[in-house]
C-alpha cells in the first residue's frame, strides 16, 4: 500500500475526477481529485497511490520512479496493484 506508482495519462473523464492511465501497459482509471482542477492532461505523468494521483511529475521523474521500483523488486507489486483498481472499470 505504500507504493507510489508512475503512470501516464491517456484520457481525462468528462464528469468525474478520473483519468485513464497507462502503467507498464496496464490501463485503469485513477482518481485525480487530490490534484488541482485541470492540473493534468493526456500525455502527462502522475504518481499514483491507492488509486489516487498524488502528484504530477515529469517524464524523467517517472522513469526514475520506475527504475527505483525495479531496484526495490516492487515493480511487479505495482502492476498488480494497478490491475486491482476496479472502482471505475466496467462491471465484469
Amino acid at each position: 500500500m505504500c507504493l507510489a506508482i508512475p503512470g501516464q495519462v491517456v484520457e481525462i473523464a468528462q464528469k468525474e475526477p478520473l483519468a485513464r492511465v497507462n502503467v507498464g501497459g496496464v490501463t485503469r482509471n485513477v482518481n485525480i481529485g487530490l490534484l488541482d482542477d485541470g492540473a493534468v492532461a493526456p500525455g502527462d505523468w502522475i504518481l499514483i497511490h491507492v488509486g489516487f494521483a498524488l502528484s504530477k511529475i515529469d517524464e524523467g521523474q517517472a522513469q526514475d520512479q520506475l527504475r527505483m521500483l525495479r531496484a526495490m523488486g516492487e515493480d511487479g507489486l505495482a502492476i498488480e496493484e494497478v490491475r486491482g483498481y476496479s472502482f471505475a472499470e466496467p462491471s465484469r
Binding site: 505504500c2 482518481n31 481529485g33 488509486g51 489516487f52 498524488l54 526514475d64 527505483m68 496493484e81 462491471s91
Partner: protein, 370 residues
C-alpha cells in the same frame, strides 16, 4: 553494496559515501533516524549501512502503518468483520497482521467475509454492488493515504451510499516524532524525513524539530543516492552547529505540500485527543477520526468495538525495536518463533517493517552486529 552497483549512478554514490566519511567526526557517534518505513526498506535492500562509517547508526523510525497499529485495533477491526452481514475490506498489507484471534487472512479462512482491496474506492464499489450487506473499510496509513480515504467518504456521501463505513486508523507522523524526541531513552541527532508523507504535508510541520529541539530534518527521496545525500546534509548541519529543515526531495515534495489533499483531510477528519501506537504507547493528537458530520460513515460509532488494549505477544519486543532501542536481531523471537512466514509481530509482516527488512536482506550480517 551488492544492490547499489545496479544503479547507473554507482560512481556518484561512492563519491557521496566518501564525502560522508569526510564529514563525520570520528570521535563521535551519530544516531540518525529514518522515519519512513520505505526508507528502512531501501536502506536494507541496497545495503546502505555497508557504505556508512561505523560511527553513523541508522535508527529505524515509526513510519510503517501496519507496524505501529496496536493489536487492540486489529482486534477491533476483526470484531467488525465478525458481525453478520458485514464485509470487511482492507489493504493487502493488513491481511497478515496478527490480532489476538488470528490474522484477517486466517479469519477469512474460518468464514469471515474479509476482502483485500487496492483502493478505498474499491471498498466503496463493493458497498454499492452489495446493498444488502454493510461494507467497512479498515483504513490505515499516514498522511499519504488519509486523503484518499477522505475523498472516498466524500464520494460515498455524494452518491448517497448508506451501507459503507470506515474504521479509521489514520495516524499523523509529526506527533510520533515529537514523542520520540521526548522519550528519555532516545537520543537522535537528526532525522531523514519521510518523502511521500511530506508531498502531502509539506515541510513546515517539521520546523519545530529544528527550532525547539535543535535537530536537523532532511526530507528525502527513496533512491540510494537520495538517502545518502540526506545523511550527508544532516552531517553538514551538525558539523556547522545548525538545525534546519531541508528538502532533498524537491522533485516530488513542494514546501507547502498538497493544498487540495490538505483541504480534503480538514473537511472530513479531526484530530483524536489521543491514540495508541504500538511501542510508543498513547500519543496525544496523533491520529485522525471522522468529524461528527460524517458519523454515518464512522464504523466506531456504528459498531460498538471492544476497544481493548492488548499487550504485545509474550517475548516479542516489537515496541523496543520500533523505538530503535533494540535492533531487530536483538529481539528474543527474531528469526526463530517470529519470521516472515509466521510473523508474531507486525514489524515482521510488512516489507517496510524493520524486522522483515532485516530478515530478508541483512541476516548474514546479524552475527556480527547483534
Amino acid at each position: 553494496m551488492k544492490y547499489v552497483d545496479e544503479f547507473r549512478d554507482a560512481g556518484i554514490i561512492s563519491g557521496v559515501a566518501r564525502e560522508i566519511v569526510r564529514a563525520a567526526d570520528p570521535s563521535r557517534l551519530y544516531r540518525i533516524m529514518e522515519v519512513c518505513g520505505g526508507h528502512t526498506h531501501a536502506i536494507y535492500r541496497h545495503g546502505l549501512r555497508d557504505v556508512l562509517p561505523a560511527n553513523i547508526e541508522l535508527v529505524h523510525g515509526p513510519g510503517c502503518p501496519v507496524c505501529v497499529l496496536p493489536t487492540g485495533r486489529v482486534d477491533d477491526g476483526l470484531a467488525i468483520a465478525a458481525r453478520e452481514n458485514v464485509i470487511l475490506t482492507c489493504f493487502g498489507d493488513m491481511m497478515r497482521v496478527p490480532g489476538t484471534k488470528g490474522t484477517p487472512l486466517e479469519l477469512k479462512a474460518r468464514g469471515a467475509d474479509i476482502r483485500m482491496v487496492y483502493s478505498p474506492l474499491d471498498a466503496l464499489r463493493i458497498a454499492a454492488s452489495n446493498p444488502e450487506k454493510h461494507v467497512c473499510f479498515f483504513a490505515i496509513g499516514f498522511e499519504t493515504t488519509a486523503p484518499s480515504t477522505a475523498l472516498t467518504i466524500l464520494r460515498a456521501q455524494e452518491l448517497g451510499v448508506t451501507n459503507f463505513s470506515v474504521f479509521c486508523n489514520h495516524v499523523t507522523i509529526v506527533p510520533a516524532m515529537r514523542a520520540i524526541l521526548d522519550s528519555p531513552d532516545m537520543r537522535i541527532d537528526g532525522f531523514v524525513g519521510p518523502g511521500h508523507v511530506s508531498s502531502i504535508t509539506g515541510c513546515r510541520p517539521y520546523e519545530f524539530i529544528a527550532r525547539d529541539y535543535g535537530k536537523p530534518v532532511v526530507v528525502s527521496g527513496f533512491e540510494p543516492l537520495d538517502i545518502l545525500e540526506s545523511i550527508l546534509l544532516i552531517l553538514r548541519q551538525l558539523d556547522a552547529g545548525e538545525a534546519r529543515v531541508e528538502n532533498q526531495y524537491k522533485r516530488i515534495v513542494p514546501w507547502e505540500g498538497n493544498p487540495p489533499a490538505l483541504m480534503a483531510l480538514a473537511r472530513v477528519f479531526e484530530l483524536r485527543p489521543y491514540f495508541e501506537w504500538r511501542g510508543l504507547g498513547f500519543i496525544s493528537q496523533s491520529a485522525l477520526g471522522l468529524k461528527s458530520d460524517f458519523a454515518g460513515f464512522d464504523a466506531e460509532k456504528l459498531f460498538n468495538v471492544p476497544g481493548v488494549r492488548v499487550t504485545d505477544p509474550r517475548g516479542a519486543q516489537c515496541g523496543e525495536v520500533l523505538k530503535g532501542v533494540l535492533k531487530p536481531p536483538q529481539c528474543k523471537l527474531f528469526g526463530t518463533e517470529c519470521n516472515p512466514e509466521h510473523p508474531v509481530g507486525a514489524l515482521m509482516v510488512s516489507s517496510e517493517g524493520a524486522c522483515a527488512a532485516y530478515y530478508r536482506y541483512a541476516m548474514h550480517a546479524s552475527a556480527v552486529e547483534a
